[in-house]
Amino acid sequence: MSKTYHLTTPLSDETVSELHSGDIVYLSGTVYTARDAAHKRLVDLLDEGKELPFDIKGAVIYFVGPTPPKPGDPIGSAGPTTSYRMDSYSPRLIAEGLKGMIGKGKRNKDVTDACQEHKAVYFGATGGAGALLGKQIKSAEVIAYEELGPEAVRKLEVVDFPVTVVNDTYGADLYKIGRAQYEVK
C-alpha cells in the first residue's frame, strides 16, 4: 500500500531507505536543477578532480528547463523533462552522494543499480504540469553555467513539491508494476 511522506532536503540514507515505489512524497527545501549539458559539465568536473558547484551529499536534482519567469515571479513553468538522457551521468553523481532525482520516464539498469548500491531514489513528477509545479517553487537562483540558459544549474527552494517514488532502493520500478496491473495480454 502506498504511503505519503513530507520530507525536507538534504535526504539521508535512512530516509530514502524508508521509501518504496508508489509512495507519494511532498518535498520541501533546496533542490538543484540540471539537464543534459549541465550533467555533462558536472561529471567532467569530477573527472578533473574539481569541486562541484553545490554540495552533492544528500542532494536532490530536478531535471528541468523552466520557462523564463514573468516579472515578479521566481520562475516560470517548471515540469520535469524526460530523464533517460541523464542516464549516462546519474550513476556517477549517485556514487558521490546524490540521494534523489526528479524527472519523468524510464531509467536504465545502471541508474537503478546505482540507486540500490548507494541508496538513492528516482522520483517521478507529472510531465507537462509545468504551471502547477512551478507554483511550488518559491525561489530560484542560477548558481552555475548561466550561459546554458534554461539548462543552467539553479538552486531552488521548494515547498510541498509533489512527486511519486518510481525507483526505490530495493530495485522496484513503479512503471513496470503499474503497467503490469492494467496490461491486457
Binding site: 528547463g65 513553468s77 520516464g105 504540469a129 503499474g178 496491473q181 492494467y182
Partner: protein, 283 residues
C-alpha cells in the same frame, strides 16, 4: 488578387503562439476529461486530475502549460490569389514566432545539433520555425500551428515495409512504438500515423495527423475503422497517465494515408503528448 500585409501575419502568428502556450484547446481538454472519467487506475486518475488542474491554472494565470513550449510547427496553405506585401510569408511566420516566444515568456528550445549552443547568434530565439507550405485555391492564408515538445517527438519512428506487411504490419508497428515509449512521451497521447506515399510523405503525414481535432472522424471509413482498432490495441498496453499504469494510454489515433509505390508500404508514427497544443486560424 487580395493583398495581406506582412505585419498582419506577424501579429497573428505571435498571438496564436502566446495563446496556445497556456490554453489547452477544447478538443484536448474534453478528451482529457473523458479519460479522467474512464480511467480505472486510481494513480493515473490522480495524475490526470493534476493535469486538469494544471490546465486550469495555466489558462487563468496565463502561464505556460508546460515548460517545454516546443518547437513551432506550421502547416500553411496560401491561396493562389493572395499577395503578401511588405516581405516574404516565411519571414513573417518566423518573425511572429520569435516575437511570440519572447513576449509570451516561453522557453527557447532550439539549439545547434552538435554544439547544443542556444542563443540568438546561432539559431535565434526558438528559430527557425518548422514550416510546411502548400498553395491552394482562393484568397486566404490558412495557418495550422502546434507547439511540439521534445519528449513526445523523441519516440517517433518511420519505416518502409514490404507491401505484404499489410494492415496487421501497421498495427503491430504502432503498438511496438508506443509500448517501447512507455511513460516517456507524457501519455495519454495522440498518435499520428502516416501510411503510404514515400518515406518523407509518410513522416509529414504522421505529423499533420496530429493537428486534426481529437474526436473528429476520419473521412475514409476504412481508415476510421483502423484508427479505432489501433486505439483499442494501444489502450491494452496498460501504460496509463505518465506511465503509472492504467487503462487510458491514448486519447486518439489519427491516420493520414496516401497512395504509394507498388513496391513499398511506408509507415510513420509521430506522437503528441497529453498537452496537445494546436491552433487553426484563417487570415
Amino acid at each position: 488578387m487580395r493583398e495581406i500585409a506582412y505585419q498582419e501575419i506577424v501579429k497573428n502568428v505571435r498571438d496564436i503562439i502566446v495563446y496556445s502556450a497556456s490554453n489547452l484547446p477544447e478538443d484536448a481538454l474534453n478528451a482529457m476529461k473523458e479519460a479522467y472519467k474512464n480511467e480505472k487506475s486510481p494513480v493515473s486518475k490522480e495524475v490526470l486530475k493534476q493535469l486538469l488542474e494544471n490546465a486550469d491554472i495555466a489558462s487563468s494565470e496565463a502561464r505556460p502549460l508546460c515548460q517545454d513550449t516546443g518547437l513551432a510547427v506550421f502547416f500553411v496553405k496560401i491561396g493562389a490569389d493572395v499577395k503578401v506585401v511588405g516581405g516574404l510569408l516565411k519571414d513573417a511566420i518566423n518573425e511572429g514566432t520569435e516575437k511570440g516566444y519572447i513576449e509570451g515568456y516561453l522557453r527557447a528550445s532550439t539549439c545547434h545539433p552538435f554544439t547544443r549552443a542556444n542563443n540568438k547568434d546561432t539559431v535565434g530565439y526558438n528559430l527557425p520555425a518548422i514550416i510546411h507550405l502548400d498553395i491552394v485555391e482562393g484568397d486566404k492564408i490558412d495557418i495550422e500551428y502546434a507547439a511540439k515538445g521534445g519528449g513526445s517527438e523523441n519516440v517517433s519512428r518511420a519505416r518502409v515495409f514490404p507491401p505484404a506487411a499489410g494492415k496487421q504490419g501497421v498495427i503491430d508497428y504502432v503498438r511496438e512504438c508506443i509500448s517501447d515509449a512507455g511513460p516517456n512521451p507524457c501519455p495519454p497521447l495522440t498518435v499520428g500515423v502516416g501510411i503510404g506515399g514515400t518515406f518523407e510523405k509518410a513522416v509529414i503525414s504522421s505529423k499533420h495527423a496530429l493537428f486534426r481535432n481529437i474526436g473528429s472522424v476520419n473521412e475514409d471509413p476504412e481508415m476510421a475503422e483502423l484508427e479505432d482498432t489501433i486505439k483499442l490495441e494501444l489502450n491494452k498496453l496498460g501504460i496509463g497517465t505518465m506511465g503509472m499504469g492504467g487503462t487510458e494510454t491514448v486519447l486518439a489515433v489519427h491516420i493520414e494515408s496516401n497512395p504509394c509505390h507498388i513496391a513499398s508500404l511506408p509507415v510513420s508514427v509521430n506522437v503528441q503528448c497529453h498537452s496537445s497544443r494546436h491552433t487553426h486560424i484563417t487570415i
